[in-house]
């Protein structure tokens, strides 16, 4: 069974078509990297898979469950790391993670484990608004994987992270995590390096869909011209 099965997906915002005629299938443990210029529909695709947006046409199945009808069965199996950290600025890193841990019925030991993993233990008692964007992004990574999701939806996950931090979060959201991943990326070379499958979007429509081994960075860069 495919981890993600999308057929002729369409999604609109009012009159504007954000996604149209998108079809793909992603096997468990594999990584799909979605490329495309700003406004191409990458984030919308991630939000549909995360159950936050309803598909307007077509069918979307995650772990065999149909969205939005069976969204309740998918929530908790998906981790989303989007442009927004989904954290409260006035709360500390620890308070934010504890809050999400309670929502997902996860023990507090996991919170401490992840704070350690993203090297935030020492700053865990400071309100998020006092932390740098890179630090907030590290906490957001911890938030996204807190509940042990099987599918990670990552929207430019390494934005704001310095090279050391990128290494730090690699075991949590990188290829070595072994999780099924859908990544939105603007980095043709870097994205291609971790992709099993590549989807290129232009104005919401699929411009290319190919195994990563059969495509080059130049073709992906072409999406942006």
């Amino acid at each position: 069974m495919a981890a993600v099965q999308v057929e002729r997906l369409a999604r609109r915002y009012g009159e504007r078509e954000a996604l149209s005629d998108v079809s793909l299938s992603l096997e468990p443990g594999r990584t799909l990297v979605v490329f495309g210029p700003n406004g191409a529909g990458k984030s919308t695709l991630l939000r549909v898979l995360a159950t936050l947006l309803r598909p307007h046409e077509g069918s979307v199945r995650v772990f065999g469950r149909s969205l939005p009808r069976e969204a309740w069965a998918v929530r908790g199996r998906v981790g989303l790391l989007g442009h927004e950290p989904l954290l409260y600025r006035e709360l500390t890193a620890r308070e934010n993670l504890r809050f999400h841990a309670r929502l997902h019925n996860v023990g507090e030991a996991r919170v401490e484990e992840l704070l350690e993993a993203v090297a935030m233990t020492e700053r865990a008692a400071e309100p998020l608004r006092t932390l740098s964007r890179g630090m907030v992004q590290r906490v957001a990574v911890a938030r996204a994987v807190l509940h042990g999701p099987e599918l990670l939806l990552l929207d430019e996950p390494r934005a704001n992270l310095d090279p050391a931090a990128v290494e730090l979060v690699e075991p949590l959201i990188g290829a070595s995590s072994g999780l099924t991943r859908v990544i939105a990326s603007h980095d043709p070379a870097g994205g291609l390096a971790e992709a099993d499958l590549v989807l290129g979007l232009r104005a919401g429509r699929p411009a290319l869909l190919s195994p990563a081994t059969e495509i080059g960075a130049a073709e992906i860069a072409g999406l942006y011209r």
Partner: protein, 224 residues
């Protein structure tokens, strides 16, 4: 459900303690309004219908400030998405937000009602207090239910600061009316009258009605 409500409520109160955006604002508004009435009416003491009316209209407008802020942190900082990604009953957010608003109302009334007695009220507050507490509780429950519903309805709109009061005020009029009528005999000079059961029942039924409406609609308001 209980665990989720607890987690949300704890988060709400922590955020309010850190930002002090709602309760202090509501309290200051109420105090300022009582001072303005004190001088505008040019009277040191009021009682009966006038006292009840001024008390409840002031409490209502102060409550609107809290209603407008209720979902702002969630909407602006991605709290909605964080909550919607969790495998929890979405009604938990309604319950937690209504309890939060109720806590804000009780907290600011602890200051506002004695201040009203000090600045404006003729009869001693002590004799009216037991009955007034019952009316305050029923009024607050209604404001919490309607306020949470309206705040959820308007928070994702661009004109939420305008739309919130415009939608909430007509719905809250029966609460002000019922609460003021119920409070009026309690705030009369001389021997305070008995609590009018008719208005208490009206308030209770109105609270129940909007509690049920909010429960029925809330899931749809959170949906995309």
């Amino acid at each position: 459900m209980r665990r989720t409500v607890g987690a949300l409520l704890r988060k709400e109160l922590l955020v309010e303690l850190r930002t002090l955006e709602s309760v202090p604002g509501m309290t200051l508004f109420a105090l300022t309004t009582f001072v303005v009435f004190h001088f505008a009416l040019n009277r040191n003491s009021i009682d009966g219908d006038l006292a009840a009316g001024i008390l409840w209209v002031t409490l209502l407008f102060a409550a609107i400030l809290g209603v407008n802020r209720l979902f702002v942190a969630d909407a602006d900082q991605g709290g909605f998405d964080g909550f919607l990604l969790a495998p929890v009953d979405r009604s938990a957010m309604l319950v937690a937000k209504a309890l939060t608003l109720l806590a804000y109302l009780i907290a600011f009334e602890l200051v506002a009602v004695p201040a009203f007695a000090l600045l404006l009220l003729g009869p001693p507050l002590g004799q009216a207090l037991p009955g007034l507490l019952a009316v305050l509780l029923l009024g607050d429950l209604g404001v919490a239910a309607i306020g949470t519903l309206v705040a959820a309805l308007t928070v994702r709109t661009r004109a939420r600061d305008l739309l919130g009061p415009l939608l909430a005020l007509p719905l809250l009029v029966p609460i002000v009316l019922g609460a003021a009528r119920a409070s009026s005999p309690l705030l009369s000079l001389g021997r305070p009258g008995a609590l009018p059961a008719r208005w208490l029942v009206t308030l209770g039924l109105y609270d129940l009605l909007f509690g049920l409406i909010a429960y029925a609609l809330f899931d749809f308001l959170l949906e995309d």
